[in-house]
Amino acid sequence: MPISVLMPALSPTMEEGTLAKWLVKEGDSVASGDVIAEIETDKATMEVEAVDEGTIGKILVSEGTEGVAINTPVAVILEEGEDAAALDGFDAGGGAAPKAAPEAAAKTVAAPAPAPAAAPPPTAAPAPTAPQATPKGDRVFASPLARRMAADKGVDLAAVTGSGPHGRIVKADVEAAKPGAAQDAKAAPSAPPAKKDAPAGGLVGTLPDPRLYYPEGTYEEVALGGMRKAIAKRLTQSTQEIPHYYLTIDCELDALLRVRKELNAKGEADGIKVSVNDFIIRAAALALMKEPDCNVSYAGDALLKHAHADIGVAVALDGGLITPIVKAADTKGLAQISAEVKDLAARAKDRKLKPAEYEGGSFSVSNLGMFGIKHFTAVINPPQAAIMAVGAGEQRPVVKDGALGTATMMTVTLSCDHRAIDGALGARLLQVFKTLIEDPLTMLL
């Protein structure tokens, strides 16, 4: 009787692993205790030994397959005297195809935005797994009439308290509910991504609709434009899904300000006027080239290392914000950067940017210095892994070699995606950046 080799649980909490390597092939004899495969989990790589004696009859899971659930048959060992014919009709048992535990998929707040192709089931059909994602029985009890009226009125039944038998929602409850408002804010049963798009009337994300708090007539309702909706959606996702951390460093600007003055004087004839921000963009680009591991995007199953520093520059608009990109800023001089930023900003304000001009990028710079903001933290723009928040350059007291002096200081805060950029790496990037800013001539190198 053939024997199934099952994916072992290498730790009490292991649910699945990668069958990284087969150390035997079909037809090989194995003895009890022989290492036949290597299993990789998130924590470590472990060896799998054969428990029984026999011949490898069939390999069921090929090398490199990820997401193999524990107890999945990975191979069949033929006992002495059996041959391949014994495999006919043999049911290896377990779950034939490697499948990721649906609970695991459901526990994560949402499938990562660039869906990993690794284990097909979790990403393939979000609909079938959705019922499992929704925790125990969130059926709303409402009379047929109440259901229909709620649908017509745009009332979210999940947010209505029922006054009927056994808490059933009845007509009167729906009539009393304000469209799009919550009578009694219950937490949305499933994770927010299930309601990714327009808030299902009554809740905004998982929070009660603010209309609930303010009497009518004390506010003016302004409809959301496309940009506002996009900002809301993207930055909520970014904040919820990207593990942000923040590194702050102060840069002395005096040298840079002198260089800038000189450059602008020399370039006046050609209409060149370089801003501090242009220096910052160039410095950031050069720093990213020096620390290329910071010029990445986290792709769920890989890191994408960008060839160039495509720097997004945050531009404030009426009723919004957009980040047009200076592509390959590492290859462009200050004048070119300056001209491009001006052009992009102007077209941004006129809403004339093409998607390619503001989607993507590898890094962003956001500068609120012109408002006197000393320090702030910015939200990373997916698919980037970092963003630099630039504060105002201001005269500050500084201590140099034990003596109190003054200098023009600027505080810069780098937000990093910890999935892609670890603390030491982010710190090194800021160090390089600071050196470039404080000694601008090095930007010529």
Partner: protein
């Protein structure tokens, strides 16, 4: 027998005895005080005995149509004494049943006439003797009686109320029924079927005025076909009784005429039994013959409640029962209790053909601002009705065009008083048309007409 109770109910009709049973179920020490027979008017002098009489007339009507069913019989006759006796026996049996229920639920029954005597106190008088009863809560369920018209008082002989009409010693040759509500029409139907020459006078412009206009119109045609004289927008201005007959002056269509009738039944409405129970002294508000209460039967006077006919329309036993339960559950502090939804109370009239309805008439729905869809299905299209040989009538349903809410259902025809519960349940569950359409009604039954009526409202009727 103790004299101190958690709850005392005055009156043991369908409101009172049901309230008492519920109170007992909820653990309250309960007493019921009754001055006449247990079961009140409904069981003894109302709903039940009239249905027994109407059963006799129903069979009698079929007996006059035997040939259609391939049957024959000779000497078809009836003995009014026995007819009445059967009705009294049925009433008696049910009244005994209430006695049994009181015992089973350990409810003390006190015979006598009760009167409020201060907070938490009642005095009960019987045969010249008085006893005091203390009760934390007192529920008044003294019911109602027939109204009289100015100048036209029942005399127990020629001018009848329902009471006398229920126990005729002989069948009148010519009968006048004043009032075309359920009570008047049921008696008119009974007597007409049994051979009496019946005239119905109604002051409004249609009979059965609470029903949908289409039902009233159909009923009028049906009664006229049966040989009844029906006068609408007509008034009785005078009744003079001489030598055991009544000379009645009827004003109709601008003219006045006088006709002679053997008996006159006054069926012009009900008025609550509010007298001599100490309401004024207790400070209970009475308005136009009825005790004023809130949705839980509370009168506003601490510890005093009122239910049923005593509190006003609809004067229906099932309304009284539900009010009794709601009142008692509220006293007991049940969290789930809420006032009765009066629009879900069905109304039934057991004339021939039967009439039943629940919810809003088409006119009322429109007046309330609903845009409506209506469906009407005639029993002519129903196989069972034809097989029964009773294909007269229809089922009409009224829906809110926007939400699909079943606003009302109105029926006239065979057994509709039994069918109406389906729509009452549907309304209680807040159905839309979709759920009724998907319900599988058994075939062949009269109830399929309920399904078809709903289909008709949505342009999908199959069998017409």
């Amino acid at each position: 027998m103790a004299t101190s109770y958690d709850l005392a109910v005055v009156g043991s009709g369908p409101g009172g005895y049901v309230a008492a049973i519920r109170a007992s179920q909820l653990g309250m020490k309960t007493a019921v005080i009754e001055r006449s027979e247990l079961g009140g008017i409904c069981l003894n002098w109302g709903c039940i005995p009239t249905k027994a009489l109407l059963r006799t007339s129903e069979i009698y009507a079929i007996l006059h149509d035997l040939d259609a069913y391939g049957l024959s019989a000779k000497d078809i006759a009836f003995d009014i004494g026995k007819v009445v006796q059967r009705s009294r026996a049925v009433a008696g049996q049910l009244s005994k049943g209430v006695t049994f229920l009181m015992k089973k639920n350990k409810i003390d029954v006190v015979k006598g006439t009760a009167k409020l005597a201060g907070q938490g106190k009642l005095t009960v008088e019987q045969d010249g003797k008085t006893q005091d009863i203390a009760a934390k809560h007192i529920v008044l369920a003294t019911g109602a009686r027939a109204r009289a018209l100015p100048g036209i008082e029942p005399d127990g002989d020629t001018i009848w109320t329902y009471r006398e009409a229920m126990v005729p010693k002989a069948m009148p040759k010519r009968l006048l029924v004043i009032g075309s509500g359920a009570i008047g029409i049921e008696f008119a139907s009974f007597y007409a079927t049994m051979g009496t020459d019946v005239t119905v006078v109604e002051v409004l412009d249609r009979i059965l005025p609470v029903e949908d206009a289409d039902v009233s119109a159909f009923a009028l045609k049906a009664f006229k076909k049966q040989g009844m004289t029906v006068l609408t927008s007509a008034k009785v201005t005078q009744v003079a009784v001489t030598k055991g007959t009544a000379q009645v002056t009827i004003e109709a269509g601008g003219t006045s005429r006088t006709e002679t009738f053997d008996k006159v039944i006054l069926a012009v409405g009900i008025t609550g039994n509010v007298e001599n129970i100490g309401l004024e002294e207790a400070g209970v508000t009475v308005d136009r013959g009825h005790v004023q209460v809130d949705g839980y039967g509370r009168t506003g006077v601490e510890g005093v409640y009122a239910i049923g006919d005593l509190t006003g329309p609809p004067w229906l036993a099932h309304k009284a029962s539900h009010e009794g339960i709601i009142c008692v559950e509220k006293i007991a502090g049940l969290k789930t209790v809420h006032p009765l939804n009066t629009s879900n109370i069905p109304g039934c009239t057991y004339c021939r053909p039967q009439v039943a309805s629940v919810g809003m008439t088409e006119a009322a729905a429109k007046d309330a601002g609903h845009k409506v869809r209506t469906g009407t299905f005639p029993f002519q299209g129903n196989g069972k009705a034809i097989a029964l040989g009773e294909p007269e009538g229809f089922i009409k349903t009224v829906f809110d065009a926007k939400t699909g809410e079943l606003l009302g259902a109105h029926m006239i025809g065979p057994e509709v008083t039994e069918l109406i519960q389906g729509y009452a349940v549907a309304r209680q569950l807040e159905t839309t048309e979709a759920e009724v359409i998907e319900t599988v009604f058994p075939h062949p039954t009269l109830s399929e007409a309920m399904h078809e009526s709903v289909l008709d409202a949505y342009g999908r009727v199959i069998h017409t």
